[in-house]
Amino acid sequence: MVIKILGSGCANCKKLYANAREAVNQLGLDATIEKIEDFKEIMVYGVMNTPALVVNEEVKIMGRVASVESIKKHL
């Protein structure tokens, strides 16, 4: 599973990244988590409101820092 966190590196993006990491750990999944900070790449997903969570190339959450629990549902 490939998880991507889209965002320019602001505080909210870091928080979402940490929550995603925690969700993966709690579920014991084998997943890679990437940070995408380049705007050109972020725009490929059509996301304008960062941070966003992408799971296997599909945008699941955007514009908010989701909790560990709600991220789990998308994994």
Partner: protein, 326 residues
Amino acid sequence: MFDWLDELIQLLVENVFNLDVTSHLGASVHFFIYDVIKIILLLGIMIFLISYIRSFFPPERTKKILERFSGAKGNLMASLLGIVTPFCSCSSVPIFIGFVEAGIPLGVTFSFLITSPIVNEAAFAILLASFGWKIAVAYVITGVIVGVVGGILIGKLKMENQVEDYVYRIKAGEVEIKQLSHKERIQFALQNVRDIIKRIWIFLIIGIGIGAVIHGLNEDGEVVRLLVQYAGKDNPIGVFIGVILGIPLYSNALGTIPIAEALIIKGVGIGTALAFMMAVTALSLPEMILLRKVIKPKLISAFVIITGIAIILVGYLFNSITHLLT
């Protein structure tokens, strides 16, 4: 609206601290406790309500709406949507690229980028707490006017060539806008309340503290006389200085508004305070650095100069109609 709190704190100050509220120290203590409780209360409630409404207007949806409008109507819609679309300065670049890529005119894009940060929930709540409804609403309306006028002027400058070339080459993907559940909206709103209060509480306490000291100053004392002379509504360069001071400051500086509240009671112009606030939110240095990734310095300067002048005019306008608003 908060008379009950006012009286409650008055009882506290007189009976528990044994201070006379008409004394300098008593007035300061009363102002401090009353303002801290009132502002935190209003901030919490307003941020929650506004964030909940905002969860219905992601920028992706705003973009779709704006694609249907052109000309000045587009500028007006962009400013109005700027009020309800959640905006954090770290999103300004993707929003800019998304709008331009969708063919939304540069001027319309700027109307959004100007109004969106000016009219934010924290600024609104603090104004409401410090100055009441009339001024908070007047602030929102002028925030829209500054955005519309600024955007139209920037559009007239035809500076499309001042956008970095790569922006035009980006092909943005389509994203499906997900419906949030009621629970997710509540969560989003609560998180906003936490984030904003965590970010500005220390500045608020300091601001209210300084405000409290000013509050206890003697009306005809030397300090008050100097303040009114320099920041009073009759000083023509007061607004100008307020705007210049506001540019390097970031939104945390909203915490300084209680200082303005205390100053205005002493006779400082309200337009000076509002212009300062708009400059703090609309013209922030960190945002300009971010925008530099997508637009060239000439367009950034045009944006700063046009928005700055518009804000200064708003300051003078409010100073001249202070009597209608208080």
